[in-house]
């Protein structure tokens, strides 16, 4: 690590999450770095035709970044390729955008999450192989919320009793699973699911079809709870595309 006094960080492992125009020829580049978490930088002149950084600012590629500055918005000095090219195509690419949107929305700036960084890198590799995209996303969503510090109890219900395979539960954000006694009623809050789904998720086993469905509903509900009123653009886009 570079000395703190110069506020310069050399060759940090990063991924580009997103870029957007800034002033006339520059870009704001949102980075996800191993050691510093999410960092916002400006790439000066990156929108000029001959900018050396122009072609480099692509998401989903492992890179080494050098930046400096002590304010929230740092100055990006350089980017270099780090490791082999990752190819996300088609649906996997859209899943990648989804991951990036989650990170941009829920990960606070400059809050280091080394384990999450490693898991993000692994998830991109799994997406690139284009197998079991849904399962890959479920694993990431769960890991992501847990890494951010949200408790998602899967082992015990809200009354601290162990989760039972055959029992039906109503899962509520911030609380956990409440067993449903008697007939299945319509509840205002939470998601209804079977104990087996929670146990499967705990054991990282998504082979069962019902588990796949219910875990998707559960994660969608939990993410919506933490994301608040503003829906995810990537989900909205996929819904719109299905209309064509």
């Amino acid at each position: 690590m570079a000395s703190v006094s110069s506020h310069r960080q050399d060759n940090q492992s990063v991924y580009v999450l997103h870029t957007y125009p800034f002033k006339e020829t520059s870009l704001v580049v949102e980075l996800f770095s191993r050691e510093f978490g999410r960092v916002a930088t400006t790439a000066k002149g990156a929108r000029r035709p001959r900018s050396a950084m122009r072609g480099m600012l692509q998401a989903f590629q492992p890179m080494l970044a050098t930046w400096s500055g002590k304010l929230e918005l740092k100055t990006l000095h350089g980017l270099e390729w780090n490791g082999c090219l990752l190819l996300l195509q088609g649906e996997a690419l859209m899943c990648g955008f989804y991951l990036n949107e989650l990170l941009l929305r829920l990960l606070p700036r400059e809050d280091p999450h080394e384990a999450l960084f490693a898991y993000y890198a692994d998830t991109l590799k799994a997406l690139a192989s284009e197998q079991h995209l849904a399962t890959t996303l479920r694993r990431f969503e769960l890991k992501f919320l847990q890494e951010l510090g949200y408790a998602i109890p899967l082992q015990q219900d809200a009354n601290n009793a162990p989760i039972l395979m055959q029992q039906h539960y109503r899962y509520e954000a911030e609380h956990g699973a409440y067993p449903i006694r008697g007939t299945l009623a319509r509840y205002e809050n939470g998601v209804q699911l079977s104990g087996k789904t929670l146990i499967d998720m705990l054991n990282d086993d998504y082979s069962d079809e019902q588990t796949q469905q219910q875990s998707k509903q559960l994660m969608r509900y939990l993410l919506a709870h933490y994301l608040g009123d503003k829906p995810l653009h990537t989900r909205q886009l996929l819904i719109e595309l299905q209309g064509y």
Partner: protein, 200 residues
């Protein structure tokens, strides 16, 4: 001291330009009113005129003064191939190559999931209708080789393939006259991954 209301309004209007903040807008307004009043009235006239006469071509969606642009009307063009580009500037670049004689469709943007730019903004329904005219046999996707351009190409190709239209994507790799020593790593890696057989 405050600016007169009309000047204040001009400054405010100039801020709709991309990359123009309050400072730049004020500088521009002062310049137009003080140093170049003739240029300013020319600007006002041409802006007004352009707003009235320029619309999108019904076929290719690019800017045009006629309902159908001259390129789409030309009898010299090959009507069986349709090249999809992101912006009118991309169309001009491809025309400069003189290597392509087919038709175009200009999306006027790209899918950008993180900015909330979706299928409506890039006129996908118009493109599908255009490609389904019964004459087009091949659609060439010439969107940018950025992650957004790739996503756009993927969704267009899925939609068109489902409707039985042949789809291709422009190639990428080593630039013309490119020397391996000086080419960037990403391009080189891509060129290696997408190499092609020499003997056909």
């Amino acid at each position: 001291m405050k600016n007169p209301p009309a000047l204040e309004q001009l400054i405010d209007s100039l801020r709709c330009l991309p990359g123009v903040g309050p400072k730049s807008a004020q500088r521009m307004a002062y310049y137009l009113l003080q140093r170049d009043r003739q240029g300013a009235s020319g600007l006002a006239l041409s802006l007004n005129n352009a707003l009235q006469v320029v619309d999108h071509c019904k076929l290719c969606n690019t800017f045009s003064e006629q309902a159908i642009c001259p390129l789409c009307e030309s009898a010299q063009r090959d009507k069986t191939v349709l090249c999809v580009v992101e912006m009118p500037t991309d169309l001009i670049m491809l025309e400069n190559t003189r290597a392509y004689t087919g038709m175009y469709f200009v999306l006027m943007g790209r899918l950008s999931p993180l900015d909330g730019i979706g299928p409506k903004e890039i006129h996908l329904d118009k493109l599908i209708k255009r490609a389904n005219d019964g004459i087009v046999t091949e659609v060439i996707l010439a969107t940018n080789y950025t992650v957004e351009g790739d996503a756009t190409a993927h969704y267009i190709s899925e939609l068109l393939r489902a409707r039985g239209i042949k789809v291709s994507r422009i190639a990428r790799g080593m630039p013309m006259g490119g020397e391996i020593e000086y080419v960037d790593t990403g391009t080189l890696a891509q060129a290696m991954l997408e190499r092609r057989s020499v003997f056909k």
